[in-house]
């Protein structure tokens, strides 16, 4: 049963030019997916490295220079936000009611809050655990949560295709 008429906002989003552009050019969707994977490696490569460092891997590396890579992680995040919004606009009905997609968004939000916790709760006190020094247990807890959340983001993203997308009857 086609319930799309019950969701005028989604129908409107789908009718906008960006969605139309993605749908009518066959090469755009796979290109956006490829960029989404590239952005993912930038975000998780850099954030994951900070997490692994806080957990004690490569302890000889000072964390401050690694932290300066974060603007590049934001470039990756921006790339993925843009490609992600275009996925959604190409067909909102694939995503809006999909539980995996909703979990993925929640995990990204939580990873963001967790990163903010790291910035405010740990990074401001960084001088206390400068180079080669054991990181605080708070830093380790935050890092484990960060790694778990980013892996959960990947799982959520991958499972969108295997999860029911049907709109609930009103």
């Amino acid at each position: 049963m086609d319930l799309s008429s019950n969701y005028p906002v989604l129908v409107w989003i789908k009718s906008l030019p960006p969605g139309e552009f993605v749908r009518s050019n066959w090469w755009v969707f796979p290109t956006l997916q490829s960029l989404h994977f590239c952005g993912m490696t930038m975000v998780i490569g850099i954030v994951g490295l900070l997490d692994l460092r806080a957990l004690g891997l490569a302890r000889s590396l000072p964390i401050r220079p690694l932290h300066r890579l974060l603007p590049l992680a934001w470039v990756g995040f921006g790339l993925n936000l843009l490609s992600g919004v275009l996925f959604f606009m190409h067909d909102p009905f694939i995503y809006a009611f999909n539980a995996s997609f909703r979990w993925k968004l929640l995990f990204i939000l939580l990873a963001g809050v967790n990163a903010l916790w790291f910035e405010l709760g740990v990074f401001t006190n960084l001088d206390r655990w400068q180079d080669k020094v054991e990181t605080s247990s708070l830093a380790k807890v935050i890092s484990v949560i960060s790694l778990a959340l980013w892996i959960a983001v990947i799982v959520g993203g991958r499972y969108i295709a295997f999860t029911n997308s049907a709109a609930p009857a009103p």
């Binding site: 993912m40 490696t41 490569g45 490569a58 000889s60 220079p65 590049l72 799982v155 991958r158």
Partner: protein
Amino acid sequence: MIDDTLLALQNSAFATWIQESVYPIVITAHSIGLALLVGLLVVIDLRVLGFAKGAALPGLRKLMTVVWIGFWCNAISGAMLFVIDAKKDYYSWLFRSKLMLIAVGLIMGARITSTVLNKTTEYAAGDADAPQQAKVLAVVSLLAWTSAIFVGRWLAYNTYGDIGVGE
């Protein structure tokens, strides 16, 4: 001859099991491995190119352990993905290009490791500049991995991404 082997692979009980029971897990593992393998190699390339000065190059050597974990994760999950589409993949130039791009990426990683990361005294300073030759390797590495991601993604499209399938 090779066709018989490829068809035997993709018609095997193992292939059916992958397809029916673990396919979502396999492609998810392939993505997680990608994040570890390429994500950390990108960071190493960036440092070679002059980003994150202050972090000594030999200090990055420890990351290679995690890079290899990501590699094996993807070699195993990738082999499983090959099994279910053995003939299509074998005759696909996208698939062959992907393998070659991965080989190039790995060789660049190995050469950066041996010429820079392993030179513990030469590049011990946090802000030491990597040699010009290593910077070339880092650029080739970034291009190879980015291309491998694109080719891998297009390989997943049966309808229009599947170019060059032999019959």
